[in-house]
């Protein structure tokens, strides 16, 4: 069988099928459905320095082939995660990517520092789509300089494989990708959700408690794929593709566009077995097609002559 393992930073993942942060809880709920140690990695819900209650409801709403969420990054806090959840994930044999966010550079660095010492955390993924409170709320991921600085700060705080998760709500995502690569990121993952909104016509108000929210699911796949394609051409570090991946065919598109690994998000809600099915179907596809090396397949898109 084809060796599907992939190298990202210091980490060797057994295969390129990961789950996306915020769509897999702390991983535990899924172990009822299947053995989550089979996945390349599970990315847990975004962790902050202190516990966060998140936004008031409504927090989610379905849209055509997608959904909006405004969870508000509710989480138990990094310390509680390390204390109560990580041991159980380790027992389950899961390869863990800890997703991290903060309101300031320092906060990001502090969370990363705590995780740096935690056994069983394979990699740290920085969610830089969050507003920088010191810079008037502009998102870290919306500005190359802010992005560069937060990644530099975190880079100093952790030896672990550092993945930086990019926001798609920008004019030129490759510019941000290059900035975080220069700041020492081992990998970029993209895309986070597109900023969207839905209105309740009856009540004449935004459906979501926080007015706007993040759009995910199959609806955004074409945008995600385009960005992965663009970024893969600009950076040398491995790219992790995210956005509307529902089937192994979607995953193949991302590999062809240049992604070394992929993350399955919203699909987990539609079918809890999605990530596992994608992995199995990929294995079968590569075998049937006689593809012997994932790394040769990655980025093997034929360029259109023009």
């Amino acid at each position: 069988m084809i060796d599907l393992s992939v190298q990202i930073g210091k980490s060797r993942f057994k295969n390129p099928v990961f789950t996306a942060s915020g769509t897999f809880g702390y991983g535990l709920e899924f172990s009822v459905f299947y053995d989550i140690s089979q996945l390349g990695a599970v990315t847990v819900k975004g962790l902050s320095l202190e516990p966060v209650p998140g936004n008031p409801g409504p927090r989610i709403f379905e849209t055509p082939s997608g959904m909006l969420n405004a969870i508000g990054l509710q989480n138990v806090g990094v310390r509680e995660f390390v204390r109560s959840y990580l041991p159980r994930l380790r027992e389950l044999g899961a390869t863990v990517i800890a997703n991290v966010y903060g309101k300031t550079e320092e906060e990001y660095a502090s969370v990363a520092a705590i995780l740096d010492e935690a056994e069983g955390v394979e990699a740290v993924e920085l969610n830089i789509s969050c507003p920088n409170v010191k810079e008037g709320g502009i998102a870290f991921g919306a500005n190359p300089l802010l992005a560069h600085n937060v990644v530099s700060a975190v880079r100093k705080a952790t030896e672990k494989t550092l993945i930086v998760k990019l926001s798609p709500n920008v004019t030129d995502i490759t510019e941000i990708a290059v900035a975080v690569e220069e700041a020492g990121a081992d990998s970029v993952s993209l895309i986070n959700t597109l900023l969207g909104m839905v209105i309740d016509v009856e009540r004449k108000r935004a459906v979501l408690g926080s007015t706007t929210g993040g759009l995910s699911g199959p609806a955004i796949k074409p945008v995600a794929l385009r960005m992965v394609y663009q970024v893969s051409k600009k950076v040398k570090i491995p790219v992790i593709g995210i956005g509307g991946i529902m089937t192994y065919r979607d995953a193949l598109e991302f590999f062809l566009a240049g992604a070394t690994a992929i993350q399955v998000g919203t699909a987990n809600f539609v079918n809890p077995l999605s990530a596992l099915n994608i992995l199995k179907d990929l294995e079968k596809y590569f075998e049937d097609e006689g593809i012997e090396s994932l790394s040769q397949y990655v980025g093997s898109l034929a360029e259109v002559e023009s």
Binding site: G54, M67, P272
Partner: protein, 267 residues
């Protein structure tokens, strides 16, 4: 809890807008009354998410494991479900949620359902009756056409079941919570009595008020918009009052059944 594909056996219209769908499953899974399932029965990604429905029943019927649930046609997903026919396939995830376990020491149970709320109330009623409890069920509908033509309702004796309609076109005329209020006024042993309700937010708010006024232990089955149904998206949270203050809990996991005194109902 299991995720599987089942085959529609029947999809019967039981009231103006409600259907009772029966799905053949591989086996009968243990469930508690008040637990629910997430159902998806269409191709393509629009609608995207599965929809939550209370488990009406899950048992052997004529030698086949049959899961049944009741749904009201309110939007895109339920409208597609209403068109499914024998042989069509549906994806199911469940049983989900905490379900209802009668606390110790309760002998008399008053259950109130408003609108489609009967779908959670009836399974609870049935299990209590089966375990020999004293049960009283009040079901409210707007009009006669909304009364479900479904086994439990059609067979129950009138002492046990009270049906109300806002317009008086069937059963007693009036709002179900008004009848509930009268019922509660007559309750003798409050400590041994338990109230359980499911229905639209406005009804639940009224039930909360009655519960507090009469000092009767009360449980509510809540609904909330859900993406996953099994606790991973954090989309369905409600505020719960605890000793450590207010915490956000998931309706799909810590609920859907909560002590009335602990939760805030939003209209």
């Amino acid at each position: 809890m299991d995720f599987f594909t089942g085959t529609v056996v029947s999809n019967r219209v039981i009231s103006e807008k409600c259907h009772l769908m029966k799905v053949e499953t591989e086996k009968v899974l243990d469930y508690k009354p008040g637990q629910f399932i997430m159902v998806r029965g269409w191709k393509g990604f629009d609608p995207l998410l599965p929809r939550p429905f209370a488990i009406y029943n899950w048992r052997e019927e004529e030698g086949r494991p049959i899961l049944s649930f009741v749904f009201k046609v309110v939007g895109r997903g339920t409208s597609i479900l209403s068109g499914l026919r024998e042989g069509d396939r549906v994806q199911v995830n469940g049983p989900l949620g905490n379900g209802f376990s009668p606390p110790e020491g309760k002998e008399r149970f008053i259950l109130a359902g408003g609108g489609i709320g009967f779908s959670a109330v009836l399974p609870v009623a049935r299990s209590l009756v089966d375990s020999g409890k004293d049960v009283r069920v009040l079901l409210g509908a707007r009009t006669a056409g909304e009364i479900p033509r479904i086994g439990y309702v059609e067979e129950a004796d009138r002492d046990h079941l009270l049906i109300t309609t806002d317009d008086g076109s069937f059963g007693e005329k009036g709002i179900v919570t008004d009848f509930l209020e009268r019922e509660l006024e007559e309750v003798g042993e409050k400590e041994r009595t338990l109230l359980f309700a499911c229905g639209p937010p406005r009804m639940l708010k009224k039930v909360q008020e009655l519960a507090e006024r009469f000092g009767i232990e009360t449980y509510l089955s809540l609904e909330n918009y859900m993406a996953c149904g099994f606790g991973v998206c954090l989309g369905c949270v409600v505020d719960r009052r605890t000793e450590e203050g207010i915490i956000r809990v998931r309706v799909c996991r810590e609920g859907p059944i909560f002590r009335s005194s602990e939760v805030e109902i939003y209209d």
